[in-house]
């Protein structure tokens, strides 16, 4: 992919933290672990890099230690650059920036950074959607349609619970957004916003500065909803695989959806790799008596028991005679021998002693917090 200095990427790492309070207790949405070796920010970040975007700002808010640790200098995404590269943008980093209430305030707070970028276009993305999307194509469509804002969406069927954390578009035959619903009380088929937007820098500047002078802070309310008819907001449909994480239940389902071979083939494309932090784990080891079916296994795992329908992150150990089913075991979880584990999500460094029995259910998996010892 050739470099595209004309596009600046901006990622909001903390939007939607409140939808999964357990997982974001000690981290941002962007640093929530996902898919056996990733953190959620790896997806928007890799998408940007794979689209030739080589200057990316990450707008954080709070709890960002794990995010800083994960991103480092950005080297693993090839963003440790002299020209462009990765920029971390915490609150209070500029004179006018404080603890922001919404996207517009956050953008106003980092305007000095955005201003100095040579890019003419800006891609905004949150960290709640797992997908492989070519932003270069979205920008192309944005230019072609002469839109003020281009919003990425997908066709989806929502439950009433999912809809409460969703932005839903009404789209006319020309592909223009004509109606915007925020957290609506609906269910069924709809056009779901994937919270990724393209704007020209000039247009973004106008709305951000205007919003600041009027104390408006929500991009969705003030711009998408408030100016639906005034601005030309065009919809860009994403057809491939995606998972939107809005709750612990959807987090569980999103991880499990990767056990489906077709989903993996649409997310992990050969020419659009998903980058993440390297941990230098040795290969996973399957011991005598191991029995593993339908599971994703990270490097460094040592498995001596039975593992079925699971996502095991890097460095997980499953003891002899243990049976682990339908579980998500995050980094360095240690399951003792002869344990019986079903529908469980363990956060990092959870240790479960021998012979324990832990069971959750499919729509309410049992969650064990970071470092828990059972």
């Amino acid at each position: 992919m050739s470099s595209n200095r004309n596009i600046l990427g901006l990622i909001f790492s903390n939007m939607h933290d409140s939808t999964i309070p357990d997982l974001t207790k000690e981290r941002t949405m962007g640093s929530v672990l996902f898919g056996g070796r990733y953190r959620l920010i790896d997806f928007p970040l890799s998408n940007m890099v794979n689209s030739g975007i080589d200057e990316v700002g990450v707008i954080t808010k709070s709890n960002y230690q794990s995010l800083l640790d994960h991103l480092g200098s950005g080297r693993e995404w090839d963003l440790s650059r002299k020209i462009g590269g990765l920029h971390l943008l915490p609150p209070f980093s500029h004179v006018q920036s404080g603890m922001y209430r919404g996207r517009l305030e956050a953008l106003y707070g980092v305007w000095d950074f955005i201003k100095t970028s040579p890019a003419d276009y800006v891609v905004l993305s949150d960290c709640d959607v797992v997908a492989s999307i070519d932003f270069a194509k979205v920008v192309e469509a944005h230019i072609e349609t002469g839109a003020d804002i281009t919003a990425v969406y997908a066709k989806d069927v929502l439950s009433s619970e999912q809809a409460q954390h969703a932005t839903v578009f009404g789209i006319n035959d020309d592909g223009r957004v004509v109606d915007v619903l925020l957290n609506p009380h609906i269910s069924g088929a709809c056009n779901l916003s994937l919270n990724m937007f393209v704007l020209s820098k000039e247009f973004l500047k106008n709305i951000v500065l205007e919003a600041a002078s009027k104390s408006l802070y929500s991009f969705e309310q003030a711009i998408l909803q408030g100016r639906t008819h005034e601005y030309k907001i065009m919809a860009y449909r994403h057809d491939g695989f995606f998972s939107k994480i809005t709750s612990m239940e959807s987090f569980y389902k999103a991880n499990m959806s990767l056990l489906n071979t077709e989903n993996r083939s649409k997310l992990f494309l050969e020419n659009r790799p998903i980058y993440t932090k390297v941990r230098d784990n040795p290969p996973a080891k399957f011991g005598i008596g191991a029995c593993v079916k339908n599971s994703l296994i990270g490097d460094g795992c040592i498995i001596e028991g039975t593992v079925e329908n699971c996502v095991l992150f890097r460095g997980v150990k499953v003891g002899k005679g243990a049976v682990v089913k339908n579980a998500i075991l995050m980094q360095d979880t240690n399951i003792g021998s002869k344990c019986d584990i079903n529908y469980v999500i363990t956060d990092k460094n959870v240790k479960i002693s021998d012979m324990r029995l832990l069971t959750g259910s499919q729509n309410y998996p049992l969650y064990l917090g970071k470092g828990a010892v059972i």
Binding site: P282, F286, V292, K293, S295, L296, I297, V311
Partner: protein
């Protein structure tokens, strides 16, 4: 340019062809050959250097250096991308007097005296890119200093039968080397040189210059430098090592060294967080083990998709083993595909190969009547084996079949 003085600089001899690895080293130098699921042989000396606090490494390359140079890159995976020091690939070069290949191990270092001198080190450690082992070079350096030695040679106690394959040291009770013989027919001792030398740089430099000026010399450490130093009664000590060490110079030993990782009784632990082995990590999703898979006693890494049966095997990154395929007692190198119904036993399959469905690669030793006819079956890199083809034990395949 100003360079910080370094106490010890490592020079890693990585130019050898490794001709006894046949098809596996056709397009790459031996140190670049994959090992242990996600490593290449050179990761071991490089990781040992970093873990021992040696941050300046010259890698002497000559034979097929493309893969090796590409792999080492700027040294970042080993934390060797340093402002001062770091890893440097040193292929032969042209001078005002003409161009010369590296004519021997000693000549390779001789041609890079200027590189070493930039760091003005007290000591130089000479390593080779042919061995699998974990070793704290710093302990060896402390030993060298404590003994006031001019040269320290790491030695391994081998069996008497094996001894004639190695350079053998005779040492007195204090560890001072009294005699050295390269591959002796009748070994006088069982202390085998591991090809790891620490020299006091000033001394070594003089010997390298003298050796270079001697037209009859073969410019080799084992043949010239060590015997010359012994003859001149320099202080030379044997540094005993009792950990795991394996020369992976032959197809059999490469296969064995991989299988050793699966044997809990053999002391090579890659999972020790105190002595991590570093490597270039592939950017691939986690491995997927399918519903039909049967997998035990094996190592598998990122990017693999396993739907078949895998037992006692080491599977490298990005390998696909289809449902109905069986892989036992084998090593499958990066990116290869084993199609359904194929059987791979006691074999090494190189990088990016395709083994067609129903093909049979290798065989178990007990199925072969004459044991001398049995050996590891080997498929080189980028090779396609057609459906139902048969590769016999001991066969080495270097072209599509």
């Amino acid at each position: 340019m100003y360079k910080t003085k370094k106490e010890c600089v490592a020079m890693l001899l990585a130019g050898g062809q490794g001709s006894r690895l046949y098809a596996l080293t056709h397009d790459m130098a031996k140190p670049a050959v994959p090992y242990g699921g996600k490593y290449r042989i050179i990761d071991f000396p490089l990781s040992n250097c970093v873990n021992s606090g040696i941050d300046t490494v010259g890698v002497l390359t000559q034979y097929q250096p493309l893969v090796l140079h590409d792999y080492i890159g700027n040294g970042q995976p080993w934390d060797l991308d340093k402002l001062n020091g770091g890893v440097h690939c040193l292929p032969p070069y042209q001078t005002a007097l003409g161009a010369e290949w590296y004519k021997g191990t000693a000549n390779a270092i001789y041609q890079n005296i200027a590189f070493v001198d930039r760091y003005d080190p007290e000591y130089v450690i000479i390593l080779s890119g042919d061995h699998i082992y974990k070793m704290d070079y710093n302990e060896m350096l402390e030993f060298h200093k404590k003994k006031n030695a001019d040269a320290t040679i790491a030695v391994l106690d081998v069996s008497l039968e094996e001894a004639s394959r190695f350079g053998i040291m005779t040492a007195d009770e204090n560890g001072f080397i009294t005699e050295f013989e390269e591959k002796p027919k009748q070994p006088k001792s069982t202390l085998a040189s591991m090809g790891i030398y620490i020299f006091t740089w000033k001394k070594l430099k003089q010997y390298l210059i003298d050796n270079e000026n001697d037209e009859n010399a073969s410019k080799d450490f084992g043949k010239n430098i060590i015997p010359d130093m012994l003859a001149n009664k320099e202080v030379m000590v044997a540094y005993p090592f009792d950990g795991y060490w394996k020369d992976v110079g032959t197809l059999d030993s490469l296969w064995e060294a991989n299988m050793d990782l699966l044997n809990p009784n053999i002391p090579i632990d890659l999972y020790d967080p105190e002595w991590k082995m570093y490597s270039q990590n592939p950017v691939m999703p986690p491995q997927y083990i399918g519903s039909d898979a049967v997998i035990e006693n094996s190592m598998v890494t990122d990017g693999c998709v396993i739907n078949g049966t895998v037992d006692f095997s080491v599977i490298y990154e990005g390998v696909t083993i289809e449902a109905g395929a069986t892989v036992t007692d084998s090593i499958i190198m990066p990116g290869s595909v084993i199609k359904s119904g194929a059987i791979v036993e006691y074999a090494i399959v190189g990088e990016n190969c395709v083994v067609g469905s129903g093909a049979q690669i290798g065989a178990r030793p007990e199925t072969v009547e004459n044991r001398d006819d049995w050996g590891i079956a080997v498929i080189g890199h980028n090779i396609t084996i057609s459906e139902n083809a048969k590769v016999l034990p001991k066969q080495i395949i270097s072209e599509n079949m």
